[in-house]
Amino acid sequence: MGENSGSLVQGTLDMLILKTLALEPMHGYGIAQRIEQISGGVFHVNPGSLFPAFRRLERSGWIKPVWKPTENNRNAKYYAMTERGRKQLKSETEEWGRQSAAITRILESC
């Protein structure tokens, strides 16, 4: 299957999930969809990495589960961002900005 485009840079999935949740609480599928849509189909997140990431983030106290009715009125597990998650996103975004700028500089210099 030689497609590279769908795989994420190591460690960025957590940041993307946090960013997605910054607006409103969402459930698992919604998050996956949102990431795929916004990235213009570049990133495709499969459940095998998405759910362990939820577990990690939850354990770190950056997101918390909330139970809400879905559009078709079934109770589903939504994830909401915590205050600490917001801080984490901020610092990760800054760090990412610094790193990607640096990488771009390096790549363009040659």
């Binding site: 698992g28 499969n46 459940p47 095998g48 759910f51 362990p52 354990r59 106290g61 597990k77």
Partner: protein, 886 residues
Amino acid sequence: MPLWTNFTGGLRALFRKPEAERDMDDELRAYMDAAAEANRRAGMSEADARRAARVEMGSVESVKEEIRGAGWESALEAFWTDIRYSFRLLAKTPVFTGVVLATLALGIGANTAIFSLLDAILLRSLPVSHPEQLVEITKSTLTNPLWEQLRDQQDMFSGVFAWGNASFNLAQGGLVRNADGLWVSGDFFRTLGVAPAAGRLLAVDDDRPGCAPRAVLSYNFWQDHYGGAASAIGSTLVLTGHPFEVIGVAPRGFFGMLVGYKFDVAAPICATTAFDGRRSRLPQRSWWWLKAAGRPKPGIGMAALKARLAAMSPSIYGASVPQNWDREMQERYRKRVLEPFPASTGLSFLRKQYEDPLHVLMAVVALVLLIACANIASLLLARAAAREREMAMRQALGASRFRLIRQLMTECILLSLGGALLGLAVAQWGNRILVHYLSTVRTTVFLDFSPDARVLAFTTGIAVLTGLLFGAGPAFRGTRGSLTTTIKETHATDRGIRRRFRLGVVAMQVALSLVLLVTAGLLLRSFRNLAAVDLGFDQRHVLVANVNLVKGQTPAAFQQIGDSLRAQPGVAAVSQSWTTPLSNQEWNTNIRPDAPNPPKGDAALVYFNYVSPAYFETMRTPLLAGRNFSNQDSATAPAVAVINETLARKFFPGLNPVGRTYQAEGEARKLEAPVLIVGLAKDAKYEAVQEATLPTVFRPLAQIEGMGTSVNYEIRAALPVDAVTRSIQKAIADVNKGTSVEIHALAAQVDDSMTRERMLATLAAFFGALALLLATIGLYGTLSYLVAQRRVEFGIRMALGAQARAILGLVMGDVVLLLIGGLATGMMLSLASTRFLRNMLFGLEPRDAATLILSAALLCFVCIGASLMAARRATKVDPMTALRHD
């Protein structure tokens, strides 16, 4: 906080498992539903939409597995699974498990036992409040006036105290029953911060001049002699004929300041007057019998304490100068300085004597454990070979190699922890034996062996370490095979590398065993040398009776008792003396001979004993020249002496000492009147078997100044010792029923003098034999295994016409290589390590060639024997059965 959410989340997952699982299922189902819904909206049919969603999700189980894996609790769960699985496996092979556990119990038990001894003697803090604050004040002993000056002048301790040892006789007449006593100053118990188990403890007011005789019992003494009854408080206890009122009991486990010894009864220092008679020790300025310690006030550090003590030393020493010393010595006395030393672990005579031996023993048991580990590793390798297919199968089914190794290591750690648990029990038993070895006939060593945190940590530590040590190799090797090669493999395959590894392990065992055998050999020969020393007297069949007179008996009673003893059946000879050889009671002073170039200073020190004329005959110490004492050498007759050969050589070189005189230095180094030397006796040991014989002067007992109320009788028995012991008691009771006597064999005194050497030699021999046994088992087991593995090869060779001899040669070739390698390594290790024994060896060098060669020969002999037994099985292979087997 992340740690906290992580922790609680994990706990919830562990303890609310069904709920957590349901959550996970719901969440994944919701995801699938949402995905299917999206697909439907994109125009797929119902069935296609569902299938696409399922394809995207992949295996639900593996997603769940990944989610579980994201939390720490999954590792815990896997660990628990490993433990249960290991238990089942070990229970299925009871013989293997039993052998491993027994080996480990011995190995770890020996290590724990020696370590607890080391801990009890060297490391353990005193069982008092805040022992780390305690400070010993000067290493030397103090006189009572000096102690009183220190007590009254000091200003930086919240409490200071002094103590001295005593021995009380509980019996009133007849055989002595000794109680270990402690003279303590008033503040002893308060400063140490111990609370009474019953009644009250001695306080400052109990230690005033002219005090009432009061005593505090130790907890064990209270239990043993009073059954722990409350009525003990207020009762009267007679100590060496003096009544004391029991006022309380010290707490359980409290033994005072001296590690290795306990006290039964503690009495205030002021009460010594009743025991000393006319010459009380309290005002004596040159009677050194007290030790002092204290607890500094809060905030006073060691440096400040040292400076302050140094500053007040001139005043403290200045007020307690011994008046009868000469000016020069008094000046030196005034310049002494009190120094503080940390005393959190108490003080002990055992430390200096046993520190090195304990470290040697620690190394010895560590080596034994290492050899045992090699044996277990060998067993595990064989087990791993039998489980090779299982391992390959599990790997093929998806278990990672790491997972398999983890499970194998869990097995090993379980085994070693089980071994450690048994080992603790073995150690408890071993400790009792060890204390027995440390104790002498006259002193019982008392040590606290209750396992403390340090011992438990040590045992757990070595258990885990040994588990890793014997488990790691087999675990890595056992999981290396790939499925296809393993399943194709048959027993006919000669696994060359594995064979070399196994032979290497055995060679290592041989090397370590050699080190232990050499150590044991050296210590045994050293002990034998010691036991073979010519003591200069014949201790066999001699009993020593130490007699204490009661009030009202005069020294004339000694004569009566002697006559009464002589009249008993079975008594061949009786003599009297002030001290007996190797009894630790000694008297020495400098002498000046009437010969040219007399030795000066410490070289002029000689040792004294006062004996009756029959002494030399009873002890069988021959007189070489001159005459023996006779009854004419009375108190009023001219002073005479018999000297030993060493003294003659040192003070009268090349001269005939008989007929010459010497002068002894009395108090304040004043020379006393000349004493005429009338005889020369053969050299005999005075202080210890190990000593280079000390220059000794014998004087007639009749010419001793201040006889005292105690004397020793040497009784040469012509009948069994028990019978004679009874006769002695009767003879003494015949004179006066109130006289108390303590009787033991002179041989016991000699044995006591070799306690340390005996313990070392016995234990080293025991562990050396154990190492030899373990190495032999290891060799035999490994060879048997290798022979069994090569059965098909041997079968083919024999079918092709090979002779039994040739097959034997094949196997023994390995053994010879292994022995050469092992012995060479062992030799080098021995040569490098035995020098640590130098100070413990008597009459031989650490690199004693004979010991080295004998040990190697013994090891060689045993190993070849064991290998021949195993190798002969190779020649018994029946070609047909062997070939049909696989």
